[in-house]
C-alpha cells in the first residue's frame, strides 16, 4: 500500500488508468509589473548568488532546473554552492532530471542546505536516496508528470534557474548557438511560465533580439553571464550509437520484423524510439523497411539522434518534433531543417491538457529494468532495490497505441521478467509487447495482435514461458532485504502515487 502523505503533504493513491480527474483551476504565478523592470530591457546582473539574493532565496524554497546540459551541466551545483554560502536551509531541488555530475549536491543534502530532490535520480544520488540518507522523501515524476505537477500547483517553483546556451540581456534564450548549444530547451517552458522568479544563466550573451525565443524574456527576472555553462562533450548523450552487441541487434531485428508482420509499421505512421543502443538499431531497421517499401513515417517524436535526422534527410520521415536533441547532428538539424521542429514537452506529454501527442503514436519503443508476468513495468529501481534511473518520458509514452519493450531476458544473471516488479512505474494494461532475444510476449489483452501473429514464424511465447526460460538459465533467485521506510514516491502521470521505493538494507 502507498502512504497518503509524503513530505507532510496529502497525496492521492493511484486510482487506475484514466480514473483520476482533478477539478479546479490551474496554478498561476503572482502578477508582475513592468514598472519593476528596467525600461532599457537590460536585466544582466553580476553573479548567480546576487540574483538568488534579489529573488529572495530563503529556507524551504523550491528551486527548479532543466536537464538539457545533461552530464555536462556546470550550473546546477553552483546554485547550492551559493545557497550554502548564504546559509539557507531545507531547499527542495526540482530538476527535470539529474545526472552523475550532480554528485556534489550530496554534500548539501548532508549538511541540510537541501532537504530533498523531487526529480529523476541517477547514479550516486539514487544510491544515496536508496540508503535512506536523504532528509526528505524523494518524489519521482515522469517528464509529463513534472509539467502536470507544476501546472496543477502541486509543486510551486519559487525560483527557476535556467541555463541558456544563448541569451540576450532581456532573457530571451535558446539553445541552437553558443559553445554549449544543446539544440532545444523543451523542458524549460513550464518552469519559466509558472515560477515566481526566473533567472537565466548563459555563457553566450548575444544582441537583442535573440530569436527564436524558446525562453521568453518577459517571464525572466535576471540574466547572469558566466564563463561556461556546460562541457560540450558531456552534453551529448553517451548512448547515441547503434549497439554492437549481437544479442541486442538480434532483439532489434526481431522487433522490426514484428512491427512489420503485425502491420503496426505502416505508411504514414507516427513513431518514437529512444536513444539507447537497441532503440537506435530498431530505428535503423525500420528505416530500411520504409525505404524498401517506399513508405514514410509521417512524424517522429524526439529526443532525436543522427539516425532520425538521417531518416528526415533521406525522406523516410516527414517531420521530427523534438523536446530534446541527443547528439550534435540533431542539434545541427534543428538549426537547419525546416521540418525539424522544436516542440516543448509541455505540449507533448502533459496529461492534464486537452489531449497530447503520446496517445497518437503508432509505434512506441521503450526500455525497462524489469517487467512482471502481468506486464507491469519498472524503470526506476534495479532488482536489488536500488533507485538508479529516472522515469523520463516513459510513463507518458505508455499511452501510445502500441508500446513495445525490447529487452534482454536477463542481464548478467539478473532476470528481467519477474513475478512482481520491484517498483511499479507503469501499469501492465499499457504495455503491449515484450521482445527478448528468446521470444516475443504479447499482452493477452491485445487479442488483435495475438490473432494477427498466429501464423508468424517469429518466436511468439507467453510471458510465463519467457520467465521460466530465464529462470532455467539463471537459477532461482532470492528477494532483496528491504525495510518499511519510504525513501521515494513514484507519481503517475495524473499526480497520484502509483508506488513507493523503500530503503535498502545492505
Amino acid at each position: 500500500m502507498v502512504p497518503t502523505e509524503i513530505n507532510g503533504e496529502e497525496v492521492i493513491p493511484f486510482q487506475g488508468v484514466g480514473k483520476h480527474k482533478p477539478t479546479g483551476r490551474k496554478y498561476a504565478p503572482p502578477i508582475p509589473t513592468a514598472i519593476d523592470y528596467p525600461d532599457d530591457g537590460n536585466k544582466v546582473i553580476g553573479t548567480l548568488k546576487e540574483a538568488l539574493q534579489k529573488c529572495g532565496l530563503k529556507d524551504g524554497m523550491t528551486i527548479s532546473t532543466h536537464h538539457h546540459l545533461r552530464n555536462g551541466d556546470l550550473v546546477s551545483n553552483t546554485i547550492f554552492d551559493a545557497a550554502a554560502e548564504m546559509g539557507v536551509k531545507d531547499l527542495v531541488w526540482f530538476p527535470s532530471a539529474s545526472f552523475p555530475c550532480h554528485e556534489p549536491v550530496i554534500k548539501y543534502l548532508e549538511d541540510g542546505t537541501v532537504n530533498r530532490i523531487e526529480g529523476s535520480m541517477n547514479g550516486p544520488l539514487g544510491k544515496f536516496v536508496s540508503q535512506g540518507k536523504m532528509k526528505g522523501t524523494a518524489v519521482l515524476r515522469s517528464h509529463g508528470g513534472r509539467v502536470q505537477a507544476i501546472q496543477d500547483g502541486e509543486v510551486k517553483i519559487d525560483i527557476a534557474v535556467l541555463a541558456a546556451p544563448s541569451s540576450d540581456f532581456f532573457g530571451n534564450g535558446n539553445a541552437s548557438s553558443g559553445p554549449s548549444a544543446c539544440g532545444v530547451l523543451g523542458y524549460a517552458t513550464t518552469d519559466f511560465m509558472y515560477a515566481d522568479k526566473v533567472i537565466v544563466v548563459t555563457d553566450n550573451l548575444v544582441d537583442f533580439p535573440n530569436m527564436p525565443m524558446e525562453i521568453q524574456g518577459n517571464y525572466v527576472d535576471f540574466v547572469v553571464v558566466i564563463d561556461k555553462i556546460g562541457i560540450p562533450e558531456k552534453i551529448v548523450s553517451g548512448t547515441t550509437q547503434i549497439t554492437k552487441s549481437p544479442d541486442r541487434l538480434l532483439i532489434a531485428e526481431l522487433t522490426a520484423q514484428f512491427l512489420q508482420e503485425s502491420e503496426i509499421l505502416k505508411d504514414g505512421c507516427y513513431m518514437q524510439a529512444g536513444a539507447g543502443g537497441t532503440s537506435l538499431a530498431i530505428g535503423h531497421y525500420i528505416h530500411q523497411i520504409l525505404k524498401e517499401k517506399g513508405w514514410k513515417s509521417k512524424l517522429g517524436f524526439g529526443g532525436s539522434t543522427k539516425y532520425m535526422v538521417q531518416m528526415l534527410e533521406e525522406g523516410t520521415m516527414e517531420h521530427i518534433m523534438d523536446a530534446q536533441a541527443f547528439d550534435l547532428d540533431a542539434v545541427a538539424s534543428i538549426a537547419n531543417n525546416k521540418n525539424h521542429h522544436q516542440f516543448p514537452v509541455f505540449n507533448a506529454y502533459n496529461h492534464h491538457s486537452k489531449g497530447n501527442l503520446t496517445s497518437m503514436m503508432d509505434i512506441m519503443i521503450l526500455g525497462a529494468t524489469e517487467v512482471d508476468v502481468n506486464f507491469n513495468g519498472n524503470v526506476a529501481t534495479h532488482s536489488d532495490g536500488y533507485l538508479l534511473h529516472g522515469i523520463g518520458g516513459w510513463q507518458n509514452c505508455l499511452h501510445a497505441k502500441n508500446v513495445i519493450l525490447p529487452i534482454p531476458l536477463f542481464r548478467d544473471r539478473i532476470p528481467v521478467i519477474k513475478d512482481e516488479v520491484t517498483t511499479i512505474c507503469g501499469p501492465g494494461e499499457m504495455i503491449d509487447i515484450i521482445v527478448t532475444e528468446r521470444g516475443i510476449a504479447i499482452n493477452p489483452r491485445r487479442t488483435d495482435l495475438i490473432e494477427k501473429m498466429k501464423n508468424s514464424s517469429l518466436p511468439v511465447k507467453t510471458i510465463e514461458e519467457l520467465k521460466a526460460e530465464a529462470e532455467a538459465i539463471c537459477g532461482p533467485s532470492q528477494k532483496p532485504t528491504i525495510s518499511d521506510e519510504v525513501v521515494a514516491a513514484i507519481k503517475w502521470v495524473d499526480g497520484t502515487v502509483i508506488d513507493v521505493v523503500r530503503k535498502v538494507i545492505d
Partner: protein, 410 residues
C-alpha cells in the same frame, strides 16, 4: 610440499558471466567462504550453498575460499571451484550438475553445416546466448583460444557447458587440442553428448585412428554406442597432401575443414583477402572431400566488421565447392547462411530439371529432356541436391511440385 593455494577463472572490469575463485587449504578452522558478487542480493545465498556443496563433495573440511563473481551461473561457478580443487588435491571425481533435457539430441552425418560459431572454451560470457543466433553448429574451443596454463579449467567449463547450456539445436562441436593433450580432453567431452570433434593440425590417417581408439575406450566405459563425428582440420602443407587419406580414414569423418592462418604460415606466405596463396590447398581439399563423399568446410573470415567482404568471400567459397565456413562473430551467421543458400534462379532451374526427370521416369523414358535439350544424369543429380537444400532451408515446400505443375498449367 604440495601447493596450498590455487586460483581459477577470470576477473576484471570487462569480465561478465564469469567468476574468479581462490582456494587455500588449511589444517583447521572449517570452511570459510568470502563472496564478492555483483548479484549478491539475488544469488548470494545460492552461491554460498554451491561453494559448500562442491567442497564437501571433495571431502575438503578446512579451507578458505574466495568467490569474486561477475554474474556467473551455477555451472560456471561449479567448474571454477572444481578447477581449484583439482589443482590442490589429486582426484578423478567429477562434480556434475544436471544434464538438461534440451541437450539430449543428436546430429546426423550429412546435416547442414553452413555455419559453425567458435566460442573460446574458457570464456563463459559468450556461451549462454550463442545458440540464439541460430548457427548450424557451435564450437567450444579448447585449442588456440585458451591459454596454455588454462587448459584444464577450460576442460571443466566446456564439460559443464555441454551438460547445462542450451544451444537450441545447434550441432554441439568441440575443437580439441593437438595431441597428446587433445586425447586428454576426450574424457570431458565424450560422455556428455558431444556431437562432433574438430581435430586440429591433422596430417594423417594414423592420428584419426589413435583418436578413435581413445574415443571408443571412453564410450565403452559409459555404454555409449552412438559414434562421435569428426571434422579434421587441415592446416599444413603435409595435411593438404594427405587430405584424401584423412577424408577416408574413418566413416565418422564427415567433413574436412581448412585452417588458413596456420596453413599460410606453413607455406611461409601471408594470408590475403584474395586468398590466391591458398587456392591450391582449397581446391585440393574440396576435391578430396568430394572423392570421399564428405563435406568440405572453409576457414573463418576474420574481418567481423565487413559484411560485404564476407558475402563476397562466401560466394567464392561456394563457387569452389565448399559447403560451409567458420564464424567468429554471431553477426556473420546470417550472411553466411544467405550466401551459401541456393539463389532463386538456381532453385527455379532445378525445379524444371527435377520435374522433367520425374516426368520422364513416370513415362518410362530413358532420356530426360527439357524442351529440345537433353539433360545428363549429373545435371539431374545437382538439381536434386539444390531442391533438397532449398526444402531443408525452408525456401520451398516439400510439395513444391504441386505448385510448380499448377503454375505450368495456368
Amino acid at each position: 610440499m604440495s601447493p596450498k593455494i590455487a586460483t581459477a577463472g577470470n576477473t576484471g572490469k570487462k569480465i561478465r558471466s564469469d567468476c574468479f575463485v581462490t582456494l587455500e587449504l588449511k589444517d583447521k578452522g572449517g570452511i570459510q567462504i568470502e563472496q564478492k558478487s555483483k548479484v549478491e542480493v539475488l544469488y548470494g545465498k545460492a552461491n554460498i550453498e554451491l561453494c559448500k556443496d562442491v567442497l564437501s563433495f571433495y571431502g575438503i573440511e578446512n579451507a578458505q575460499l574466495t568467490l569474486d563473481d561477475k554474474g556467473a551461473v551455477s555451472l560456471i561457478i561449479a567448474a571454477r571451484i572444481e578447477a581449484v580443487v583439482k589443482q590442490l588435491i589429486d582426484t578423478d571425481k567429477e562434480y556434475l550438475l544436471d544434464f538438461i533435457e534440451e541437450n539430449k539430441y543428436f546430429s546426423e552425418k550429412d546435416q547442414l553445416r553452413f555455419s559453425r560459431l567458435y566460442l573460446p572454451g574458457n570464456s563463459p560470457s559468450m556461451m549462454l546466448n550463442a545458440g540464439i543466433h541460430d548457427p548450424n553448429g557451435i564450437i567450444l574451443d579448447l585449442e588456440d583460444s585458451v591459454a596454455f596454463d588454462r587448459k584444464k579449467e577450460a576442460q571443466l567449463v566446456v564439460r559443464n557447458a555441454l551438460r547445462g547450456i542450451n544451444f537450441y539445436g545447434a550441432e554441439r562441436m568441440v575443437r580439441i587440442n593437438q595431441f597428446p593433450m587433445g586425447l586428454e580432453d576426450l574424457k570431458y567431452l565424450v560422455p556428455h553428448n558431444v556431437h562432433m570433434l574438430l581435430v586440429p593440425k591433422c596430417e594423417g590417417a594414423e592420428q584419426i585412428k589413435e583418436l578413435e581408439e581413445k574415443i571408443v575406450e571412453i564410450q565403452k566405459q559409459h555404454n555409449i554406442e552412438r559414434p562421435v563425428l569428426l571434422m579434421p582440420i587441415i592446416e599444413s602443407a603435409l595435411g593438404v597432401e594427405k587430405s584424401f587419406e584423412i577424408a577416408t580414414s574413418s566413416e565418422n569423418v564427415v567433413a574436412l575443414a581448412i585452417g588458413l592462418e596456420d596453413y599460410t604460415a606453413d607455406l611461409g606466405t601471408r594470408r590475403t583477402n584474395e586468398a590466391i596463396e591458398s587456392f591450391y590447398a582449397r581446391t585440393r581439399i574440396v576435391n578430396a572431400c568430394k572423392a570421399a563423399s564428405i563435406q568440405a568446410i572453409d576457414s573463418v573470415f576474420s574481418d567481423v566488421g565487413d559484411m560485404d567482404a564476407l558475402r563476397e568471400n562466401v560466394k567464392v567459397s561456394k563457387g569452389l565447392g565448399f559447403e560451409g565456413m567458420g564464424c567468429i562473430h554471431p553477426r556473420q551467421i546470417k550472411v553466411i547462411h544467405e550466401s551459401f543458400a541456393p539463389e532463386t534462379v538456381e532453385i527455379e532451374k532445378a525445379k524444371k530439371i527435377v520435374n522433367a526427370f520425374i516426368d520422364a521416369t513416370e513415362r518410362g523414358l530413358g532420356v530426360v529432356s527439357l524442351g529440345t535439350k537433353m539433360i545428363d544424369p549429373p545435371v539431374v543429380k545437382r538439381a536434386e541436391t539444390t531442391i533438397n537444400l532449398a526444402i531443408n532451408l525452408g525456401l520451398i515446400s516439400e510439395n513444391w511440385r504441386e505448385d510448380f505443375l499448377n503454375e505450368q498449367a495456368s
